[in-house]
Structures are given as structure tokens and as C-alpha cells.
């Protein structure tokens, strides 16, 4: 659906509620007109009834007085009944003077036929009392019909105060006063003659004054006062009502005075009846005048409603016309902009991207379509730029796809080689798996050997512990020996000191012998014997020195032997220590070996478990490698597919390049 059509629909969518609203307004006005018209219907229906209410008692009185005017009144009443028939035929159904309407309210007797038959009985009756009875019946019928007309004609619901108070006078107050005066006129003679009659006369007077006279005058005055407030000031209301009202006021006041006089015993029944008749007459005059003015007010109201209805329709029509005019111009502007846009898009759709949108409107009058045009220009600018880049990129992609196709071919060949290599790996892995299982078996054997070794090492460790104990005992014995040798050496040192002392004494003796020999020699012949003794002493000293020298040599040998023994013992001690240390080291080594044997045993068990796991893992790896082999086959197939796809891509890129060539970018 085009945007102008949518705008038309939018306009219609707005017109529709406006129309409904206007319809409702006019319907309300029509209802108000109908309401007021029904009120006029009520007045029309009351007119013949009020004429009958005026004439029938006069006819009855004329018949009682045997007046000549009776036949004229009877003829007038018949004419009025015919008029009532006509009115009933015209508006009776509207006022629900139907069997159904009357039945709803329990008023089925309020028919014109019943009224006419009652009238005929009244006319045909020669007996005064019987005639009075029929008169009361017919008066009740008329009063009931007046009330029914008032109820169904909306008069009782009149919305304006002036017409409402006029209705109050015509529909309620005046008929009530007329009936009350009729009752007074009918029963006055009997009441006045009766005992306590004056009391009832007082009551009649009070009711006539308070309930009738004051209500009529007050309502009329209120209607006159409210008149300017509704639909303008009536030009006839005040001039027409005032004389009738004054006439009514005088007649009613006279009637009330006569009643008061009669009640006090100063008046007469004749004067009361005369003033009552005058008051009845003035009441009918006032009723006619008031009904006419009420009709006038209702017609004025109806005319105002009609005028208001016409004005509403005219204003609505004018508003709609202006709205449609504005919609037309707006629609035309939008259509032109859209047409321009569509033409530009058609050109762009044909591949020519050079046209740009330009708005003829002033900047203050630019709308969203102009903004869209600017956005379109910006978009087309970026689009053209992108297409230019896309062409460049497509050229690059085409060259890349060519390279991709070549590399795909190479990759396909390589993947085939890889598939063969993987199959070789699978074969190798199967061999490795077999080898792993063989290793697993060997590891179980090694575990057994390791456990045996652990037991042997444990035995060796116990031997080393024993050896270490023995070595400690040897070391302690050797220490005792060394200490004994050192003690012996100290003793030899003491002997050495003694020998040195002997040697020193021998040396001194020898020197003394030398000196003695020298002295003997110096003494010549006298000292010859002394010389011999000195020589012998020297020889003895020399012998002592030699002996001590030998002792020294022996002691030296003993010391040397002792030193060698100590040295040997110390060497032995050192060897023992070395042996002890080596044994300790051996024990530590055995500890280490034992720990290693434990560790080795544990390790071999762990290795056994690991090998078991490895065997399982190898089997899984083998399965995985087989899957990889299958995967490599798939990859090779996929790469061949890639090569095919790269050919397709090349074809597609050629097509895209062909599409891009369609566009005119500059």
C-alpha cells in the first residue's frame, strides 16, 4: 500500500472518531429536541382536556339551572372531544395513551372512549344527583389524563427553571386549584348548612390560599425572574403573563375574602359561588396564557437546539474540510519527496550509484525524508567507497583463491602421504605395543629378581654390621698396644738419659785422663808411672765411652724399633680406622643399597604398574592412532573437497567481480 493511501487511511482513522463524536453530539441534541418536543406534545394534549375541565361543570350547572346555554355548551364539549380525538390520534401513542402505556401505570381507565361514554351518561342523565356523580367521575378522568400526559411528555422533568415553573403552574398548581374550587362550589351549600361547616370552609380557604394561590403566584414570579437566564429574554412572557396573572390574583383574592367572610358568618354562599366562578374563569385564562408562553419557551429551546446542531455540523464540516486540505498538501509534499526518492533508488537499483538526493525545501522546512536523503547520500558515499574497496579486495581474493587452489592440490597430495605415514605409524605402534607387552613380562621377572636382591642385600647388611663391631674391638686393642709401646719408649728415654749421664762422666774422665797424661808428660821421668795410670784411666774412659756408645746404639735401635712399632701400630690404627671408615661406608653403602633395593623393588613394582598402564595406554594410543589414521583419510578427502571448494570459490569470486562491474561508481 502506498504512503499517500496510508496517509488517507490515517486521515480517515482520525475522521472516524470525529464523526462518531459528532454523531453522539447531534444525537444528544436530537434527544434534547425530542425531549422538548414531547413537552409540547403534553401541552397540546392538555389543551382540550382543560377545555373539557372548564366546560363540563358549566354545562352541568346550566342543566341544573335549566339555562339555554346548556345546548351550546354541550355542542362545544362535543367539538372539544373531537379535537381530543384528533390530538390523541396524532400524538397519543407518543404520550403512551395506549393500552400498554396506561397498563404499566395502572391507568387503563384513562381512555378517551371511557371519557366519551361518561360524558354521554352525564348528558343523558335527568337526575341531578346522578349527573353530579357522573360529573365527579368525568372530572377524575380528566384529571388523571392530565397527570398521565404530564408524566409521559417529560414536562415533569423540564430542565430549565423558567419553563419548569411555568409547567408547575399549568400541570400541577392551576389544575389542583381548579379541582379544589370545583369541589368547593359543589359542596359549599351542604357544608355551610351542616354543623361545623365553617371549620371546613376555613380549611378550604387555607388550602386555596397556601397550596394553590401562593404556589401559582410564586411559581409564576420565579418563572418571570428566571426567564433571562435561558436562551435569551422572552419578548412575550412578561407582557402576556402579567395581565392574566393580575386578573387571577384579583379574582382569587376576592374568592378567598368571600370564603373568609362566609367562614366568619358575615358572607353569603351566593357571593362565594360568584367569586369562585370568576376565579375559575381567570384561572383558565391564566392557564391558556401560561401554556402558550410555555410552548413559546419550548419552541425557543428547540430552535436553539436546532441552531446548535446546525452550527456543530457546519463547524465540523469546515474543520474536516480544512484538515483534508492540509492533509492533501502534506500528502502531495510527501508524495513528491517519495517519488524523487523512488526514482533515485530505481537508478541506484539499475547500478548507477552516481545520483545524489538534493532537497528543494528551505532548511527550516526540511523533514525526515530530507534527513533520509542526506543519510542516503552518506550511505551511498560509503557504499561506493566500500564497493571500490570490495573490487580491490575481490581482485586480491581471486589471486588468493588461485593460490589456495594450488596449495589445496599440494595439501591433498601431502595429506595422502601423511595418511600413508600414519598407517606406517600404526604398524610401528602395533610393534611397540607387542614390545611393551614383552617388557611387561620382563619387568615382572625383574621384580622377582629385585625382591631376591633385596633379601641378599639385607643379609650383606647384617654381615657388615658384625664386621663393624669386630673392627671396633680391633681398634680398641691396637690403641692399648700403642699406649704400651709409648710407655716403653718413655722408659727407654729415661735409660737414654742415664746413658748420657754415664757417657758425660766417661767423657769427663777421659778429658781428665788426657789432662793427667799431659801433666805426666810435662813432668818427664817423674811422671812416667802417673802417665801409665792416666793412660789406663783414659783407656777405661774410652772403653766406657765406647760401651755407652754401644748402649746408645742399642737404645737407638730399640727406639727406632719402638718408633717403627708405634709408627706401624699407628699405621695399623690408621688402617683400622680406614677399615672402620670403609666398613662404615660399606654399611652406608649397604644402607643405600638396601634403600636402593627397597626403592628398586618399589620402583620395579611401580614400573610394572606403569608398564601395565603403558600397555593399556599404548592400546588406547593405538586405537587413537588408528582413529587419527582414519581422520587423516577424512582430512585427505576433506582437502580434496577444499580443493574443489576453492574451485567453486574461484567461480563465485568471478561472479562477484561480474556483479561489482555492474555498478557505476564515478
Amino acid at each position: 500500500m502506498s504512503i499517500p493511501r496510508k496517509l488517507t487511511l490515517i486521515t480517515l482513522a482520525f475522521i472516524l472518531p470525529v464523526s462518531v463524536m459528532i454523531f453522539l453530539i447531534v444525537s444528544g441534541i436530537n434527544d434534547s429536541i425530542q425531549f422538548s418536543r414531547f413537552e409540547t406534545y403534553g401541552n397540546r394534549y392538555q389543551r382540550p382536556l382543560m377545555a373539557l375541565l372548564r366546560d363540563i361543570p358549566l354545562y352541568s350547572l346550566a342543566v341544573d339551572e335549566e339555562s339555554e346555554s346548556a345546548s351550546a355548551l354541550a355542542q362545544q364539549i362535543s367539538s372539544t372531544l373531537q379535537s381530543l380525538d384528533l390530538v390523541d390520534k396524532e400524538i397519543g401513542a407518543n404520550l403512551q395513551f395506549t393500552s400498554e402505556g396506561l397498563g404499566k401505570r395502572g391507568r387503563t381507565h384513562l381512555t378517551i372512549a371511557n371519557l366519551r361514554s361518561t360524558w354521554e351518561r352525564l348528558v343523558n342523565t335527568r337526575i341531578s344527583s346522578q349527573r353530579n356523580k357522573e360529573l365527579v367521575s368525568i372530572m377524575d378522568l380528566i384529571r388523571g389524563m392530565i397527570i398521565h400526559a404530564g408524566d409521559t411528555s417529560n414536562l415533569i422533568l423540564d430542565p430549565d427553571l423558567d419553563s419548569y415553573y411555568l409547567m408547575d403552574v399549568t400541570l400541577l398548581a392551576l389544575p389542583q386549584s381548579i379541582f379544589r374550587r370545583h369541589e368547593i362550589a359543589r359542596e359549599l351549600s351542604q357544608v355551610y348548612a351542616s354543623q361545623n361547616g365553617t371549620m371546613k370552609i376555613h380549611v378550604w380557604r387555607a388550602l386555596a390560599e397556601e397550596s394553590d394561590f401562593k404556589r401559582v403566584t410564586t411559581s409564576m414570579q420565579t418563572a418571570l425572574n428566571e426567564d433571562p437566564n435561558f436562551y435569551g429574554l422572552s419578548s412575550t412572557l412578561l407582557p402576556n403573563i402579567t395581565p392574566s396573572l393580575e386578573d387571577y390574583r384579583k379574582a382569587e383574592e376576592s374568592f378567598l375574602n368571600e370564603l373568609a367572610k362566609l367562614a366568619t358568618g358575615s358572607g353569603s354562599v351566593t357571593r362565594v359561588l360568584s367569586s369562585c366562578a370568576e376565579s375559575q374563569r381567570s384561572s383558565f385564562v391564566l392557564w391558556n396564557t401560561t401554556v402558550s408562553e410555555l410552548d413559546q419557551l419550548l419552541n425557543t429551546r428547540i430552535a436553539d437546539y436546532k441552531s446548535r446542531r446546525i452550527n456543530s455540523l457546519l463547524l465540523t464540516a469546515l474543520s474536516l474540510a480544512v484538515a483534508l486540505f492540509l492533509v492533501f498538501f502534506i500528502q502531495r509534499g510527501i508524495s513528491r519527496s517519495l517519488s524523487s526518492f523512488m526514482a533515485m533508488f530505481r537508478i541506484a537499483g539499475s547500478g548507477d550509484l552516481t545520483p545524489r538526493y538534493s532537497s528543494s525545501a528551505k532548511s527550516a522546512l526540511r523533514d525526515e525524508i530530507d534527513a533520509m536523503g542526506e543519510i542516503y547520500n552518506s550511505f551511498i558515499g560509503s557504499y561506493v567507497s566500500d564497493l571500490t574497496q570490495l573490487r580491490t579486495i575481490m581482485d586480491t581474493i581471486r589471486s588468493l583463491i588461485q593460490g589456495l587452489a594450488a596449495s589445496s592440490q599440494e595439501t591433498s597430495a601431502t595429506s595422502s602421504e601423511q595418511a600413508a605415514a600414519v598407517k606406517e605409524i600404526v604398524s610401528t605402534m602395533e610393534d611397540v605395543d607387542s614390545l611393551s607387552k614383552s617388557i611387561e613380562k620382563r619387568i615382572r621377572e625383574i621384580t622377582t629378581i629385585s625382591e631376591n636382591t633385596h633379601a641378599v642385600v639385607r643379609g650383606g647388611f647384617d654381615r657388615v654390621q658384625d664386621t663393624l663391631g669386630k673392627m671396633n674391638e680391633i681398634n680398641q686393642a691396637n690403641q692399648t698396644t700403642i699406649e704400651g709401646i709409648r710407655f716403653l719408649s718413655e722408659k727407654i728415654e729415661n735409660i737414654w738419659d742415664i746413658v748420657n749421664m754415664i757417657n758425660g762422666i766417661a767423657d769427663q774422665t777421659r778429658i781428665i785422663a788426657f789432662n793427667a797424661e799431659l801433666e805426666a808428660s810435662a813432668a818427664g821421668e817423674a811422671g812416667r808411672n802417673f802417665q801409665i795410670v792416666a793412660t789406663e784411666i783414659r783407656r777405661l774412659a774410652d772403653s766406657t765411652v765406647r760401651s755407652t756408645g754401644e748402649i746408645k746404639d742399642r737404645i737407638t735401635e730399640i727406639q727406632k724399633s719402638s718408633d717403627r712399632l708405634i709408627l706401624t701400630s699407628e699405621t695399623g690404627t690408621e688402617k683400622i680406622r680406614e677399615g672402620n671408615r670403609l666398613t662404615s661406608e660399606i654399611r652406608e653403602l649397604f644402607d643405600t643399597i638396601l634403600t636402593s633395593a627397597d626403592t628398586s623393588s618399589d620402583s620395579t613394582r611401580q614400573i610394572g604398574k606403569s608398564i601395565n598402564q603403558q600397555v593399556v595406554t599404548f592400546e588406547q594410543i593405538l586405537i587413537a592412532i588408528r582413529q587419527i589414521s582414519e581422520g587423516v583419510d577424512h582430512i585427505a578427502t576433506a582437502i580434496r573437497g577444499t580443493a574443489s571448494a576453492s574451485d567453486d570459490l574461484r567461480s563465485i569470486s568471478d561472479r562477484i567481480a561480474g556483479i561489482l562491474k555492474k555498478y557505476t561508481l564515478s
Binding site: 777421659r510 778429658i511 788426657f514 799431659l518 808428660s521 783414659r538
Partner: protein
Amino acid sequence: MEKFVLFTLGERWFALPGDRVQEIVLDHQIYSLPFVPPWVRGLINRHGEPCTVLDLQALLFQEELKARRFLVIRTEGDRYCFLISEVLSIVTLSEEDCHKLTAEAANEGYFSAMLTWNGRDIPVVDCEKISTRQEKDLAQQ
């Protein structure tokens, strides 16, 4: 026949005529003297009289002898002694075993003769030449 006292300086053997040796003394303290040559080691107290200690090894071989034995020389003037290592023996030798040195050879050294004892040649120290040298050296100091 003539007596000779055989003694050693270290490992070397020497001899002195027996009549020139007054006595052999052991273990006396040597009191050093100032302004004397190195081979004059000092004095020892011999019976209350000073006796000059001469170190033949220092004189002959310029090597100080470390010993505490002294050969006291019989003199009429100032008393002196030789510091020696050990007295070996007092021997009586014939003239055949005592070879006098020639004047030229004697003048060149401090020995007067050369003994032959048990197959060993032992020089005989000339006390006069030693004394002369001592006087000369002390005079130079």
C-alpha cells in the same frame, strides 16, 4: 819420639805438639770481646785468669765452630786456647811419621808439619804463626 794431641774441627783432623798443650777444658762460658776479628771468639775464665779463645775453623775455613771444648796452649805470655770439636787421642809418633813442612809451604799457612797416623795425614797447627796472626789482627783493629 814426640807426643801429639790429635783433635778435630768438625770432621777435619788436626794435631798439636803435646808439649804445647797445657790442658783440656770442658764447658766454659765464652765472654765475647769488642773490636776483635771474628775468629777471636772471646775470653774464658781459667782459674781466675783470662784466656783468649781462638776459633781455628773460623780462621782457616771462615766458618764459626759450634763447640764447648778448649785446648789451652802452654805459653809464657798471654794465655790463649783453641776452640775444638773433640780430643781424639794423645799419640807418640816417631820422626818418620812427622814430616816437617818446608819454609815456603810453612810461610804460606798456619801448619808446621804433617803427621801420618793410621794411614791418615794430619796437619800440625803452628801455634806461633797463629799467635802472630792474632797480634797482627788485633793491631789492625
